[in-house]
């Protein structure tokens, strides 16, 4: 068939259209900036009859995830969406969703955590649930947000995974910025995601009653956590398989990492999210000037593509990690992952924190970072600290 025409959509709208095409049975959700356009657009589509979804207007994000777990385990394909403080309020239940192996999907519009209160992008909200046991995929732009959302149910519902999958897009930068997005047809999406499936005994199967979420004492808790870790380990392969299949369908690559001009690269930037797009422009400019620089973009932050990253970075001299979240008193989250993955390689790691609370990352700052001229905190007034 001929390629469909791209449409001008924000990242939020693109994900809402993806959800509409997926047709979840249940979407419990609570509005919060900058996620709101996702559920607002999706609600309009449902109200217009484009999807049969039951939208549950819950009273908080804690309730949204609680209802989502119940729906997913009852046997309904389930999705939700949130941002920032909503994810923080939800965090307690996100851990339980992962532990109960609820194969739901969640669109995240990444936004800084309070305080000070702020509505703009950074990744501190996602990093808050880093260790919860959910998968987290980061989009660079609206097209990737759409693509990853279509892929998400296949990953979440894979029998070896059966976990929540978060599709993260930068608040405002992606959620609210309109770009050309090429969508699949409704039939293609429905064929791609298929029927809802879960390995967990459905709650409403009254012929086979089961206890869900049992208490586990010291004699079993650790074994349950190990089994949960194994699900995320298996998720690495499932992400690759689903990305392969999606690429065959669309021609678009959405694997765990994207290698951008890494051939012979001596200095390589590692980044998540929309900033990768800006870094690509700077890499192109510096390559034109003969500088051996490149970018390794991470799409799958959980599971973290440790092996792929180690292979891609072997041979680089300097690896520069850009974190859009800080870990005061310790290593920023992405830098910590990269350092773990590169252990033993003959490369020098440079860690920078940038863009907190929606601070823009300009090309000039990326040039400084690549030339070793940037302070650890990029773009903050008062850096570098006086000696």
């Amino acid at each position: 068939m001929s390629a469909p025409d791209p449409q001008l959509l924000t990242g939020g709208e693109a994900v809402a259209h993806a959800l509409c095409q997926i047709q979840p049975d249940v979407v419990p959700v609570y509005p919060i900036t900058p996620q709101t356009p996702i559920i607002q657009t999706f609600s309009s589509l449902v109200a217009d009859g484009a999807a049969h979804t039951e939208i549950v207007n819950v009273e908080s994000e804690h309730s949204a995830m609680s209802a989502a777990i119940g729906a997913a385990l009852a046997g309904a394909r389930t999705a939700t969406a949130t941002s920032s403080q909503g994810l923080a309020l939800m965090a307690e239940v996100v851990y339980i969703a992962a532990s109960m192996r609820a194969p739901l999907t969640m669109a995240v519009g990444n936004r800084a955590l309070s305080g000070p209160i702020n509505i703009h992008c950074d990744h501190s909200d996602s990093m808050l649930v880093r260790d919860s046991g959910v998968a987290q995929l980061f989009a660079e732009n609206a097209q990737e947000a759409y693509d990853l959302m279509v892929m998400a149910p296949r990953i979440a519902e894979h029998p070896d995974v059966s976990l929540p999958v978060l599709v993260c897009q930068d608040g405002f930068t992606i959620t609210h910025a309109a770009e050309p997005v090429t969508m699949l047809s409704d039939d293609e999406v429905r064929a791609f995601v298929g029927e809802y499936r879960t390995r967990v005994q459905p709650l409403l199967d009254t012929e086979h009653p089961a206890t869900h979420g049992p208490f586990a004492m010291p004699d079993y808790y650790f074994e349950f956590r190990r089994a949960q870790a194994a699900a995320l380990e298996a998720c690495t392969r499932v992400v690759a398989d689903v990305a392969d299949e999606f690429a065959r369908l669309t021609g678009r690559e959405n694997h765990a990492v994207e290698e951008y001009r890494l051939e012979g690269a001596e200095s390589v930037v590692v980044a998540l999210g929309s900033s990768a797009g800006t870094v690509k422009d700077v890499v192109d400019e510096l390559r034109d000037d003969g500088e051996p620089v490149g970018l390794l973009k991470i799409r799958s932050f959980r599971p973290f593509p440790t092996t792929a990253l180690r292979v891609a970075l072997d041979g680089a001299r300097d690896v520069i990690v850009l974190d859009r979240a800080d870990s005061p008193g310790g290593a920023p989250p992405l830098a910590a992952e990269v350092a773990f993955a590169m252990a033993g390689l003959d490369v020098t790691l440079h860690s920078h924190v940038y863009g907190l609370g929606g601070r823009d990352l300009h090309p000039e700052a990326i040039r400084q970072v690549l030339h070793g001229e940037a302070p650890r905190y990029v773009g903050v007034r008062g850096e570098p600290c006086p000696a």
Binding site: S99, T211, G213, Y220, A227, A230
Partner: protein, 95 residues
């Protein structure tokens, strides 16, 4: 004591069939006595059955038939809601 399972042997998400669940007798958690029925005073309103948070009120069909002390935690809600004084809290060793 059954042999402890390895992590690969656990059911996904720990969803357990009834046969796999060890039933601990949580009645052992009572610390402030137990509710004791006087059947002659019971009007069979079943408010105790409705309110009991541990499903420890035993029925014979739809007739109040006593208390399952293996699971009664001694919260005394049944005594509180009983309209006819048919339930009272008694010390464990006198029951």
């Amino acid at each position: 004591m059954p042999e402890l399972k390895q992590w690969r042997e656990l059911p996904v998400a720990g969803a357990l069939a009834p046969a796999d669940v060890v039933q601990p007798h949580t009645g052992g958690w009572r610390t402030s006595g137990r509710p004791v029925p006087q059947f002659a005073a019971c009007v069979n309103c079943l408010l105790c059955w409705l309110y009991c948070p541990d499903s420890a009120i035993v029925l014979d069909g739809t007739t109040f038939a006593g208390i399952d002390y293996d699971y009664c935690k001694g919260c005394a809600l049944c005594v509180e809601v009983c309209p006819s004084g048919a339930l009272s809290m008694e010390p464990e060793n006198d029951a």
